[in-house]
C-alpha cells in the first residue's frame, strides 16, 4: 500500500502546530497503524529529522496509551478497536489519512501527537480506589458476588482509561470514563463502604480538571475501544444524585457525649 499520512506536528505546547504530509510506500495490509508511524519515524531518523512523538506501550489493546485521532475519529474508523490494534487492511491504497492529537482543555498537547492525560490520573487519585490494607491476598470467593453483578462490574472495569471518550465528545466530557470507574467499584461489595464519597469526589475532581458535561450526544460510546455502554452515564447520574441528595456526609457528626469520671 502507498499512503500519505497528514500528521499534526507541534514541537511543544508553547509553539503553534501545523499539519505535515508524510508519504509512505510498501506498507503491508497486516501492518498496525503504529507500525506505519514507526516506518515514518525510521525514515525521519535516517534523514536526521525529528521523529513524530506519539504514545504507545502494550500494543495489544490493554494499556490505553495509544491515542490518535485518525480521520476525525479517536482510535480510527473501526468499532471496539484501539489504535495499536487497527490494521492497515481497513484503509485503501493511496488514501490520505489525517492524524491528530486528542485535544481538550483538560488534556493539552505536550508534543506532536502526545497529550497530557494526567487529569485522568488525578480523577482516579481523588477516589477511584477502595481503602483496604494490603498484604496477603485474601482467599478467593470469601466475599460472595453474584454472577450478574460480577459480569456488569467487569464490563465497566474493562475501561483502559485511554480518553477516547473525551476526544470524541463535543463537550470534551469525561463522563463515560468516570461512569465506568464509578460503576465498576459501586457494583462490588468491596466498593460499597466508600460508594457515596467516591462518586462525589470523582465528579468534583472531573469538574476541577475542566472537563465538560454530558449533553447526551453519545459520541463517547461509539469511539470507546472497550465498548463501555453509554447507559453507564445514566448510572453515574443516578449514583451521583443519590449521593448528592441522600449521602451520609451531610449534617456533620452525631452529638455523642463522652463519659466523664
Amino acid at each position: 500500500m502507498n499512503l500519505v499520512l497528514r500528521i499534526w506536528r507541534q514541537a511543544s505546547a508553547e509553539v503553534e502546530g501545523r499539519f505535515e504530509d508524510y508519504p509512505v510506500s510498501g506498507i503491508s495490509t497486516d501492518y498496525s497503524f503504529l507500525e506505519v508511524l514507526d516506518r515514518i519515524n525510521e525514515d525521519l531518523v535516517s534523514q536526521n529529522q525529528e521523529p513524530v512523538a506519539y504514545e504507545m506501550d502494550c500494543r495489544e489493546g490493554i494499556c490505553g496509551s495509544c491515542s490518535l485521532m485518525i480521520n476525525g475519529t479517536p482510535h480510527g474508523p473501526r468499532p471496539a478497536t484501539t489504535t495499536c490494534q487497527l490494521y492497515m487492511r481497513h484503509f485503501h491504497d493511496g488514501q490520505t489519512i489525517t492524524v491528530e492529537p486528542w485535544l481538550s482543555r483538560a488534556t493539552p498537547v505536550i508534543k506532536d501527537l502526545v497529550v497530557d492525560r494526567s487529569a485522568l490520573d488525578r480523577i482516579m487519585q481523588s477516589a477511584g480506589y477502595i481503602s483496604v490494607h494490603t498484604g496477603e491476598a485474601p482467599d478467593a470467593n470469601t466475599i460472595p458476588v453474584s454472577k450478574s453483578r460480577a459480569d456488569k462490574a467487569f464490563v465497566a472495569a474493562s475501561c483502559i482509561g485511554c480518553g477516547a471518550c473525551i476526544a470524541a465528545c463535543p463537550n470534551a466530557s469525561a463522563m463515560l470514563f468516570v461512569a465506568a470507574k464509578v460503576t465498576h467499584l459501586s457494583l462490588l461489595p468491596q466498593g460499597e463502604p466508600e460508594r457515596s464519597h467516591r462518586v462525589r469526589a470523582m465528579v468534583v475532581a472531573m469538574d476541577r480538571e475542566g472537563f465538560g458535561n454530558c449533553s447526551n450526544h453519545y459520541e463517547c460510546a461509539k469511539a470507546c475501544p472497550k465498548s463501555i455502554p453509554v447507559s453507564l452515564i445514566a448510572r453515574l447520574n443516578r449514583e451521583f444524585q443519590h449521593a448528592g441528595l441522600l449521602g451520609h456526609e451531610y449534617g456533620g457528626p452525631i452529638h455523642h457525649a463522652a463519659h466523664e469520671e
Binding site: 485521532m69 475519529t73 465538560g212 445514566a234 448528592g244
Partner: protein, 226 residues
C-alpha cells in the same frame, strides 16, 4: 439547602436542574397542545377551555411558576453550554464538517430561538400586541373569543409561517430532550434505548404536528371565522 448548593456547584447538578425544569416544559407543551386541539371541536369548545384557564384561581401561580421555570432552564442551559464549549476550545478538528459542528450545538440554537418565540408568542396571543380589536371580542356566552383571535391572526400568511417555522425548532429541541432526560435523571438502560428513541419521536411528532396543524388549517381554509 446545603445539598442544593452542593448540587449547583457541580456540572452534573446544574445539568440535572436543566433536565428537571425541562420535564416541566415538556409536560407544559403536551398540555398546551391538548388544550389547543379543542379548536377542532369548535369555537365554543376552545373559548370555554380558555375561559376555564383564565378564571382559574391558580392562573397567576401557574404563570409565575412557568416564568421562573423558563428562566431557570434558560440560565442554567446557557451556563452549561458555555462551560461545555470552554472544555473544548478547538471545536472543529480536521475530520469534522461544519454541519456536524452546528448539529452538535442544536440544543442551544433551538433553545435560543424558542426563547425568542416564547416572548413574541406571549406578547402576541396572550397580551394582544399587534392584534387590535379582535383581542377584545366576546363570544355568544360572553367568554373571550380566543377562537376568532387565533383564526384572524393566522389568516396572515407571514405570521402563520413564522409560527410553523418556530415549531421546527421545538421539534429539534423535543426530539433530543424527550429521550435525553431519562439518561440525565439516571433512568436509562441499554435495553430501553429503542423504546426511548421511539417515545421521543412520538412525542415530538404529536406535539409539533398538533401545533403546526392550527396555522396550517387556517391557511388552507379548514378553520375559518364563523
Amino acid at each position: 439547602m446545603k445539598r442544593l448548593l452542593y448540587l449547583l456547584s457541580t456540572t452534573i447538578g446544574r445539568k440535572l436542574i436543566v433536565a428537571l425544569t425541562g420535564i416541566v416544559l415538556i409536560l407544559f407543551v403536551v398540555g398546551h397542545i391538548s388544550g389547543n386541539l379543542t379548536i377542532y371541536i369548535g369555537q365554543s369548545a376552545l373559548n370555554n377551555y380558555a375561559h376555564f384557564l383564565q378564571t382559574s384561581p391558580m392562573l397567576w401561580v401557574m404563570r409565575l411558576s412557568m416564568l421562573a421555570i423558563v428562566m431557570l432552564h434558560v440560565a442554567l442551559g446557557v451556563a452549561v453550554t458555555q462551560e461545555n464549549s470552554l472544555a473544548r476550545p478547538e471545536s472543529c478538528h480536521a475530520g469534522q464538517s461544519w454541519y456536524l459542528h452546528v448539529y452538535q450545538r442544536r440544543m442551544i440554537i433551538s433553545g435560543l430561538v424558542l426563547l425568542a418565540f416564547i416572548a413574541v408568542h406571549v406578547a402576541h396571543l396572550t397580551l394582544g400586541a399587534g392584534i387590535g380589536e379582535v383581542f377584545r371580542l366576546k363570544d355568544a356566552s360572553g367568554h373571550v373569543d380566543v377562537y376568532s383571535r387565533v383564526v384572524t391572526t393566522f389568516q396572515n400568511a407571514w405570521i402563520a409561517w413564522a409560527y410553523i417555522a418556530a415549531m421546527m425548532f421545538l421539534a429539534i429541541h423535543l426530539k433530543h430532550t424527550v429521550r435525553a432526560v431519562f439518561q440525565t435523571l439516571g433512568f436509562s438502560r441499554e435495553s430501553y434505548f429503542e423504546f426511548l428513541e421511539f417515545l421521543s419521536w412520538m412525542v415530538t411528532l404529536a406535539v409539533v404536528g398538533g401545533f403546526i396543524s392550527i396555522p396550517l388549517s387556517v391557511q388552507l381554509g379548514w378553520l375559518a371565522l364563523l
